[in-house]
């Protein structure tokens, strides 16, 4: 009897709770509209929206390989299943043609579609919520004046209960901090512009911050490094592994042109990011650089010392020739795998990477390479396997892939050599399985054509050896 009553109370409480949750999770539909005429939008607003869309990198996720731009359909693998990017062309049936400006702004700010469904945070509204109404209106004007493309978005492949969008209301309750960017008045205007772009539309933290078990960006580890499409997104905070510390000028150049003399070229999922930023005036790249450099902070004295030693070595010898070792005068004896790797490096890599030919067309000196210092070998593995595909229809940097000529064991040996020779970090732990996995994923996994290197010197074949 007592137990029965207890159960009734529990069930009743559960129902009330569920009811409350449903009420909480409920979002209303915003009425559909007739797709607006293209001429209804001010061309200046459309242009502004185009620039903002470039910062947002919208074209990269919302375009399937070989598909029409913004027509969606790209499969986004997540730890929970596959999510398909939606069609954001103004097609009335399959795109956002029937979305009012209000519905668009709400989707950016709150992560809810026109019909009131919660959106998966693969659409990074945890960042886009920071975008101002004014900028959202410009983005809307830009998207609504694109070519409408009829393209049905494939259904997501997610297991129960994650396939229930209601669940996302709970996710938002836990992890979503809604609201427009608030300026930090103690900082400069440029810094604030950069923070607004980086934290909002640019959504840098979506890749460069780690995520928790439920896929939310960890706010306690801002820019501490993350992962994207099989690539490591390096830390952008004080833990930045770059052997030559970044500064505002270097970051500006990198973000605007896709390469930087002592840091290398943007590749993997970062290549389209810099490609997009390159179409904007470089003041935008400089603003982002100003903000990011401040998050990285001034390099520690140790890091500064290491950088100075590397810069001194730059004029003295090619990086692969003399093994650098902290303080000792004799080259250390390499373990067997690294010795085999050294032979591979000398035969296959050295002719470009030790040639002293300047970037972006020459190979980066690997003692300058962040990848050698990275927490995982994912990026060097991807680059060794698939190379760096050239930009389409333009001159630009390129590296051939070695998937056909290096087997997994040879790549593991090469990694052992690279890590021990070009960084002061301990060996990567058992990279074999990762090599096999990334080989399996092939070029499908986040391999993008490089940025065009359009700001590079006009005579790419000129040799400029410095020693």
């Amino acid at each position: 009897m007592r137990i029965a009553r207890f159960l009734i109370i529990v069930v009743a409480m559960g129902l009330v709770g569920l009811g409350g949750f449903v009420a909480y999770a409920w979002e209303s539909e915003i009425d559909p509209i007739d797709p607006p005429q293209r001429t209804a939008f001010d061309p200046a607003l459309v242009k502004h929206g185009a620039d903002l869309a470039a910062v947002g990198n919208c074209n990269v996720c919302h375009t399937a390989p070989g598909g029409k731009v913004f027509a969606g359909g790209l499969a986004l693998p997540t730890p929970f299943g596959t999510i398909y990017a939606t069609n954001i062309t103004p097609d009335p049936e399959t795109g956002i043609g029937r979305w009012s400006e209000e519905a668009f702004v709400r989707s950016m700010r709150e992560g809810v579609d026109r019909e009131g469904n919660h959106l998966y945070p693969a659409f990074p509204y945890d960042h886009f919520t920071r975008v101002t109404d004014e900028d959202n209106r410009a983005l809307y004007a830009y998207l609504m004046t694109r070519e409408p493309v009829r393209a049905e978005t494939p259904a997501n492949e997610l297991p129960f209960p994650i396939d229930q969008r209601m669940v996302l209301a709970g996710w938002k309750l836990l992890f979503f901090d809604e609201g427009v960017y608030e300026a930090d008045t103690a900082q400069s205007q440029t810094w604030n512009r950069g923070a607004y772009l980086a934290e909002g539309l640019g959504h840098c933290g979506a890749c460069h911050s780690p995520r928790n078990a439920l896929g939310a960006v960890r706010t306690d580890a801002h820019y501490a490094g993350g992962e994207s499409e099989g690539w490591t997104a390096y830390a952008l905070n004080a833990d930045s592994p770059a052997p030559i510390p970044w500064d505002v000028d270097a970051l500006t150049h990198y973000l605007h042109t896709g390469w930087e003399t002592r840091h290398g070229v943007a590749r993997g999922p970062m290549a389209p990011v810099t490609q997009n930023l390159g179409v904007l005036p470089d003041t935008e790249a400089r603003a982002i650089a100003t903000y990011v450099a401040s998050v990285m902070r001034e390099p520690t004295p140790e890091k500064r010392q290491r950088a100075e030693a590397l810069l001194a070595a730059e004029t003295a010898h090619p990086p692969g020739v003399q093994v650098q070792s902290a303080g000792s005068q004799t080259a250390p004896v390499l373990p067997a795998d690294a010795q085999r790797g050294a032979a591979i490096y000398a035969a296959a890599c050295s002719s470009c990477h030790d040639a002293g030919r300047p970037l972006p067309y020459g190979g980066l000196r690997l003692d300058h390479s962040t990848a050698m210092y990275g927490p995982t070998p994912a990026n060097p593995i991807n680059v060794i396997l698939n190379g760096l595909p050239a930009p389409e229809g333009e001159r630009g940097p390129i590296m051939p892939g070695f998937a056909g000529s290096l087997d997994d064991g040879q790549i593991v040996d090469l990694l052992a050599y690279l890590r021990s020779t070009f960084s002061d970090r301990p060996p990567w732990e058992d990279p074999g399985p990762l090599v096999a996995r990334l080989r399996e994923a092939g070029v499908e996994a986040g391999v993008y054509a490089l940025d065009s290197g359009s700001a590079a010197p006009a005579n790419p074949s000129k040799q400029e050896t410095t020693w």
């Binding site: 032979a343 591979i344 035969a347 296959a348 595909p389 051939p400 070695f402 056909g404 000529s405 290096l406």
Partner: protein, 167 residues
């Protein structure tokens, strides 16, 4: 000394371990099909097949090839008996100066060897690393498509080293 198999014939090569496969093929094995274009892995003229994969022989050092199987354009057939890839390029007259063509054939062979029914999109994406200065691209595309058809209809020579091994 490194032992490798080229078009079915075993060779023992005395050369520095960093010697590019391209030089080994041309100077030691006297197979002149693979061409020197850039020597930097940027043009594809030197493409050959190693263990089923298209590789750029100019940036593939001998050191990596111990006991591996290499196929060059000479291994795809003979003048009397061209293989389907060669036959297709002849039928489509897919050459201007011809310098890029052996590399084109070898890269295409690596794809069609796996999947003779590759789509145009797959062919284009796969052929991306190989350049042609003469603008023969449309004929090359047509030849690759035809080679796929020939392989499917004749049921032969999907493998890289058929129909006959040249020495």
């Amino acid at each position: 000394m490194v032992a490798l198999t080229v078009n079915g014939t075993r060779h023992e090569i005395e050369a520095e371990p960093d010697t590019p496969l391209l030089y080994v093929l041309r100077d030691e094995c006297h197979l002149h099909g693979a061409k020197y274009g850039c020597g930097l892995g940027q043009c594809g003229a030197c493409t050959v097949i190693v263990g089923g994969e298209a590789v750029l022989s100019c940036v593939t050092p001998l050191l990596l090839l111990e006991n591996k199987e290499v196929t060059t354009v000479e291994g795809l057939g003979t003048i009397e008996q061209p293989g389907p890839m060669q036959q297709a390029f002849i039928e489509e007259q897919a050459a201007q100066c011809g310098y890029c063509i052996p590399g084109m054939m070898m890269r295409a062979q690596a794809l069609l060897g796996r999947n003779p029914a590759a789509t145009d999109g797959e062919i284009r994406a796969h052929m991306e690393p190989n350049l042609c200065r003469c603008g023969t691209h449309m004929r090359i595309m047509a030849a690759i498509r035809r080679a796929g058809e020939l392989m499917q209809t004749s049921g032969r020579a999907a493998s890289a080293d058929a129909p006959q091994r040249a020495g």
